[in-house]
C-alpha cells in the first residue's frame, strides 16, 4: 500500500510526525491537514510524506503562502466540526500569523463565554543548530508560552511525537506542536498502535540524585549528553523532559528537585523570557526550601541566531555549558 510506512522496529522523528498524523486520520475522518507543500511534495522536511498518497486531496490540502489564511481557516474549520492540523513550515513564520495565536485562537472560547471550541493543532518546524540563520532557526515555544489559552507541545523522541500527536489532535483545545528540526533524523523505537502520551506529563528520562536537568525537545539530548559527562565526575544528574510547556508539569519538576536539591534548566530559546524563567519562578516560590544551591538557566544568548556553525554553537546551549553550570552549583 502506498502511503505512510507502517513497518515495525525503529522510526525516525521525521517519519513519526507523518505516522502520528496518519494514525489519527485513520480513526477520525474529521482530521484534515493543510499547509504549504504538505501534499504530493510531502513537506519541505518530509514530515508529511505519504499522507497525500494515503488520504488524498480531500484530506491533505496544499495552500498558498498565506500564513494568516492557513491558521485563520484552520480556526474557522475547527469552530465548525473539523479537526484541522495546520502546518507552518518554519516556526519563525508564526510571526506572520501571530494575530491568530495571540489574539484569536486562544481567546475566542473565553471571550464568547464558552460558546465555541477550537480543536486544532498548529504544527511547526522549530529550533536551530543547522546553520539556517536568524530567520529560520529560532526556538519559539516561549512566544506561545506568553499567551494564556494555548497548549504547547515539544517532543524529544519519535515515540513522544506519535504519542503527543495523538493527544494533541484529540484535544478539544488548541495545541501548538513544535517539531525540532535538529531531531528529524534521530531514531527511536516505533510505539505500538494506540500509543498516546497525555498532555502535561513530564518524563524523568534519566534518574539521578545530585541535580535536576530540566529540558525540552532538543535540549533533552543536550542534557543527557551532559549527564553522561557529569557521571564520569561522580555527579548523578536526573534529566526531566518537560514535553509540554502548557499544561506545565510542575509536580514532576518539584518532585525531582525535592530529590536532588539542585536545578539547572536547559533551554534553546533566548535567556530573556525563556520558558525556564517561568519554571524557576515557581520552584523558588513553592520549593525554595528544597534547594541547596542557586538555580542556573542554560539558554541561548540574547542575540539573533548567527549563521556560522562556530557562532551558532557559541550562542546555543551545549553539553559543555550544561556541565559548567552544574559544576558551578554542585559544591555550593
Amino acid at each position: 500500500m502506498a502511503g505512510v510506512k507502517t513497518d515495525s522496529g525503529t522510526i525516525t522523528y521525521r517519519e513519526a510526525v507523518a505516522e502520528g498524523i496518519a494514525r489519527e486520520m485513520r480513526r477520525d475522518p474529521t482530521v484534515i491537514c493543510l499547509g504549504e507543500d504538505i501534499g504530493p511534495a510531502g513537506g519541505v522536511f518530509k514530515t508529511t510524506a505519504g499522507l497525500f498518497e494515503e488520504f488524498g486531496p480531500q484530506r491533505i490540502w496544499d495552500t498558498p503562502i498565506s500564513e494568516q489564511a492557513i491558521v485563520g481557516a484552520a480556526m474557522g474549520a475547527a469552530m465548525t466540526g473539523i479537526r484541522p492540523v495546520a502546518e507552518i513550515m518554519f516556526s519563525d513564520f508564526l510571526a506572520c500569523c501571530w494575530d491568530y495565536l495571540a489574539n484569536e485562537i486562544p481567546k475566542v472560547r473565553y471571550m464568547t463565554g464558552g460558546q465555541v471550541t477550537v480543536p486544532l493543532v498548529i504544527r511547526t518546524a522549530n529550533g536551530g543548530g543547522l546553520g539556517f540563520g536568524a530567520q529560520h532557526s529560532q526556538a519559539v515555544e516561549n512566544w506561545a508560552l506568553a499567551i494564556p489559552g494555548l497548549k504547547i507541545v515539544a517532543p524529544s523522541t519519535p515515540a513522544d511525537v506519535i504519542g503527543l500527536m495523538a493527544s494533541a489532535i484529540r484535544s478539544d483545545d488548541p495545541v501548538v506542536f513544535f517539531e525540532h528540526k535538529g531531531l528529524f533524523a534521530s531514531k527511536g523505537p516505533r510505539p505500538p498502535e494506540g500509543h498516546h502520551v497525555e498532555l502535561g506529563r513530564a518524563a524523568v528520562v534519566r534518574e539521578g540524585t545530585d541535580v535536576t536537568l530540566l529540558a525540552l525537545a532538543s535540549t533533552v539530548h543536550t542534557a543527557l549528553a551532559a549527564a553522561d559527562r557529569l557521571a564520569e565526575d561522580g555527579i548523578s544528574a536526573e534529566v526531566v523532559d518537560l514535553r509540554c510547556l502548557i499544561p506545565m508539569d510542575l509536580t514532576t519538576v518539584l518532585a525531582s528537585v525535592a530529590k536532588t536539591s539542585r536545578l539547572v534548566t536547559v533551554e534553546e530559546n533566548p535567556y530573556q523570557a525563556g520558558w525556564g524563567a517561568t519554571v524557576v519562578s515557581v520552584v523558588v516560590d513553592e520549593g525554595f526550601h528544597l534547594l541547596d544551591a542557586p538555580v542556573r538557566r542554560v539558554a541561548s544568548a540574547n542575540v539573533p541566531l548567527p549563521f556560522a556553525d562556530a557562532l551558532e554553537n557559541e550562542v546555543m546551549p551545549t553539553a559543555d555549558k550544561v556541565v559548567a553550570a552544574v559544576r558551578s552549583v554542585a559544591n555550593f
Binding site: P64, S66, G72, G81, I82, G114
Partner: protein, 326 residues
Amino acid sequence: MSDSTELLRMYEQMAVIRRTEKAAYDLFLAGMVKGTTHLASGHEAVAVGASAALRPDDYVFATYRGHHHAMARGASPEACLAELMQKSTGLCKAKGGSMHLTHAAGNMLGSYAIVGAHLPMAVGAAWSARLRGTEQVAVAFFGDGATNIGAFHEALNLAAVWRLPVIFVCENNLYMEYTPIAAVTAADHPAADRAPAYRMSAQIVDGNDVIAVREVVASAAQRARAGEGPTVIEAETYRHYGHSRTDPATYRPAEEVERWLKHDPIDVARARLEALGVTPDTIKDTDERASAEVAAAVAAAKAAPAADIAEAFTDVWADGGAAWRV
C-alpha cells in the same frame, strides 16, 4: 409569506436594532456601559437583509461593530445589553463585551476586534461546510478599512482557489475610524474593485435598502451552494454615530451626513412598506412593539445580577476550566 409580511418582519428587526443601539448609547453616556462601543445605527439593513437571505445554519462572522449581526441572527437585545453592562446574563457571560458579541446558537460565530482577522475564519468555516458536505455558506461582514489589511487578501485568494461557499460583505461606511477610506485606498470601491484580481464576482449594493441587500446576498448564497464559489458584496452605508464611544464625528462634512441621514435604512424600508400598501397604523404598531421590547430589555438588563466573579476562571479550556499547570 407575502412580500409585505416578510418586509414588515425585517422592518421590525431593524427597528429593534436601532432602538437597542440608541439604548446602548444612552447607557454609555449614563456610565452604565463601560469600555467602548461601536454602534451600528445606520447599518441595520446590511445585517437584516443578509440574514433574511441565509439559512439558519449558515455561518456569520462579524467585527467589533457587530451588535446588529448578533441580533439579526437571533441574539436578544436583553442579552446584548446585559453583556455591554457587564451582567452575568450577558450574551458572553460578561467576558466578551460590546466588541465580541457572539451567538453561536444562531451560528453567529463571533465579533472580532482585530481588523480583518475573521475573514480567513469565514473561509475556514466555508471549507469545513464543503468538507462535511452540508451546503452551508459562511459570511464575513467587515468594514471598508479591512480591505487594506493582508488577511483580507489572503482570505479572498484562498476562497477563490478553493472555490469555497463564502460571501465577503463589506459594509462600506466611507471611513476607517476618522480617516476617509478614499484617502488611504488605491481603489474607488475598496472591496468590489479588488475582487476581479481574485477572479471573483463582485456586487455593489445600496446597503441601506434591506430588500436590495437580501437579493444580492441570496444570489451569492445560491451560487455558493451550487459550488460556484465566493462573492464579494460591497454594501454602501453610513454610520449614524461616531466611530466609537461618544466620538462626535466632526471630521465628516455636514452635507454628507445630511445626505445619508435622509437615506436612512429604516425610512427606505418604511417607504417600501407603504408602497406595498401596509397602513401607517400597522407601521406605528410595529414601531411601538419595537420600543416596548427594547424598553423591557433595558429594564431587565439593568436588573440583572453583575458578572459572576467565578467566571473569570472558566471557559479557557474545553473542559471548562483554566488550569495551566499540573
